[in-house]
Point group: C2
Chain length 148, copies 2
DNA sequence: CTCCAATACTTGATTCATTCAAGAAAATGG
DNA sequence: CCATTTTCTTGAATGAATCAAGTATTGGAG
């Protein structure tokens, strides 16, 4: 797990000012991969009880734009953030409980897939979301099938 | 383009009651691929001026659950719907203007990709979103690069 | 054809994630 | 330490989507 000094280095490396809210958000997202904004706000408030939700929204946007965080948002979910960036990995989402897990990308670079017909678009990334049932939900209802 | 009789057959085939709002929504989504809910409401009101937005939301949900429509929602966009279902095709989204185009799937069946490590999930679908710049935006700003 | 039960729609209010706006506070360079 | 710029706080607003209660329509049974 990175230290505060590491986070500070990351911020400076991205030409961003170092502030307590930013350090706290970075730390929270490293601790809670795929957390939504509300969970991040709560985590941040354990060390900084008075941060405004607006500050967290601003920080998440700034860090995402700087490439320090990645924003994901599977169908039916609010925005979620993760700190694992730069390796072009993918995600698998549980249709029943919404749990998200990382899936390594066999290629590792963008774009890792080529479209058969790109419709004239200049493609720089292929985002893949696998849908299915997580281990817990498979154990709970082994007979039932998730909806297609 | 399917006729009203075709839409009626689709609804009955899915064990759904045939109503004017449902026929109008089916027709609108066939006419306007990748349209958001608001555009669909407006399109429906050209033939049925008094449908409530709630009815359209309900219909979209019912038709999606029945497999007659597919719901998509790229990052930063509201929910969109398309009538092309069953062929497991994918989408390419313009980072600049949000335009969406269909991309055929080389495999055509779900799941068309296999995860290197499925984290114990039972995967039934691989959803792919290609990100890039559409032809129009490429022509407009040939020098600039979309943000990564 | 008529009636009934189930389903779908209308109306109106509500929720909740996210954004906007204006002013106060903090961070970096000089 | 000061000035400028950026960031944060506070409070309100937006807007897609959902909830809830009552009315209307559908499709099958009689």
């Amino acid at each position: 797990m990175p230290t505060t000094a590491d986070f500070e280095r990351m911020l400076r490396g991205a030409a961003l000012r170092v502030t307590r809210p930013r350090l706290a958000v970075l730390s929270a997202v490293h601790d809670l991969p795929h957390a939504d904004t509300d969970s991040i706000i709560n985590a941040v408030r354990k060390t900084l009880p008075d941060v405004s939700h607006q500050a967290v929204y601003d920080v998440l946007r700034a860090l995402t734009n700087a490439g320090l965080l990645r924003r994901i948002q599977p169908l039916g979910s609010v925005a979620r953030y993760e700190a694992r960036v730069g390796d072009n990995h993918h995600h698998v989402v549980c249709r029943m409980c919404g749990a998200i897990a990382d899936v390594d990308c066999a290629v590792g670079e963008k774009p890792c897939l080529t479209a058969v017909d790109d419709a004239g678009y200049e493609i720089d990334e292929a985002e893949v979301i696998y849908w299915g049932r997580c281990p817990k939900c498979r154990a709970k209802e082994p007979a039932s099938q998730p909806r297609q």
